[in-house]
Point group: C2
Chain length 201, copies 2
DNA sequence: TGCGAATGTGACACTGAGTGTCACGTTAGC
DNA sequence: GCTAACGTGACACTCAGTGTCACATTCGCA
């Protein structure tokens, strides 16, 4: 019965400030990584460039990789929510394809920035690996959303998981080609093509 | 014109000995990891347990993770070869499914060992991540094999890549369920179910 | 307005992974 | 037997990531 149970204080001021600092740190980090290469930049470099201590930087981002990959935070929840919002009668593939529009949106909002980020991630083995790992974590959320759509929440079948995974593959492959084309190819077309290759083959 | 161009000396004795040492090191490492947990075991522990120096251990396996994941070496090449060996008329899905029998075989040869390895990998974030990364590297080889089957070697389409990726997902999801069932469920059935969820949905 | 607690930050020490280098001993080829 | 290549061990080094501590600021509350 101590005052331990206070997860959210009355004021959100701190949280807002914290988010702003986080964004600024991510920005500085991205600039350095792009200029010098991810591996060449040390945590000390980042801290110095951002004007904070190494400790502080690591408090905002647990790892060097996270400073870049934070850009993808929330994609899983948003996609899962979009999936749940699709008409219940819609088949899984269509629902997944439409849910991914939520992700694609972000790329259309800032094509140049998205392209630069994607390119950095794909070209840096450490980032690529960590991104793969994080994205792998999206799978359960999507599979669960599919199970809910099927009217059996909590009962995630092999099928739900496989389809969720395949949909993420489609996204990745489409992004690979989009990046390789320097953003000239249409992301929507690429994603449609990827899904088509899956459903009708 | 110096004697630099001699990639393979007359005798293979060294290579054979090297492979044996490598296998022994992997075995010792696996025992330690299983007993104490991957993260608790340091490179010094491994070296001491194997009776070699830390340097030597790192020469055989570039990273701690590789000492475990070396078990999967060659799976990509074998699967791609199996894919190329399938009848040209066979559709991609069937060919992929059959090619994965090559991988499944290994699990039937030593179910207990495979189960232990798979479990260790899935339960250890660092191993899971590294495995994901390595397996991601199989994709191009499989996609290229599909392109060759299509009579267009070198021309890897979005479809080839997506189907290769999806097939690997099927393998992973099937293995997840197999591991979760302590090896009681049939791996072949699980893999069939995964592919079925993909092709007919 | 002032007090106390929580919180953000910096400084520091520490562990452990991975890299590179060098010297030594063994082994293989001639 | 001589020589060159190779495997190994012993270091030293960099850097990521963790944990701890003290200090300062800020917020909640009286």
């Amino acid at each position: 019965m101590t005052g331990a149970a206070r997860p959210r204080p009355p004021t959100h001021t701190r949280d807002i400030a914290r988010a702003a600092v986080r964004a600024e740190l991510a920005h500085v980090a991205f600039e350095l990584f792009s200029r010098d290469g991810f591996d060449k930049v040390t945590l000390d470099d980042l801290a110095a460039a951002a004007g904070v201590s190494r400790s502080t930087f690591l408090r905002y981002f647990g790892t060097k990789e996270d400073a870049v990959l934070a850009a993808y935070d929330g994609h899983d929840r948003r996609t899962a929510d979009a999936l749940r919002a699709r008409p219940p009668a819609e088949d899984d593939w269509t629902a997944l394809r439409r849910a991914l529009d939520t992700v694609i949106e972000r790329y259309h909002e800032d094509p140049a920035g998205s392209l630069a980020t994607t390119r950095l991630v794909r070209e840096t083995p450490a980032l690529c690996a960590r991104h793969l790992e994080k994205q792998h974590g999206w799978r359960p959320a999507l599979a669960e959303a599919l199970a809910e759509r099927a009217g059996t929440p909590g009962d995630v079948t092999v099928g739900h998981t496989v389809r969720a995974a395949a949909a993420l593959d489609c996204l990745n492959v489409a992004l690979d080609h989009w990046t390789a084309s320097d953003g000239r190819l249409d992301l929507v077309d690429l994603l449609d093509e990827a899904f088509a290759a899956l459903t009708g083959a």
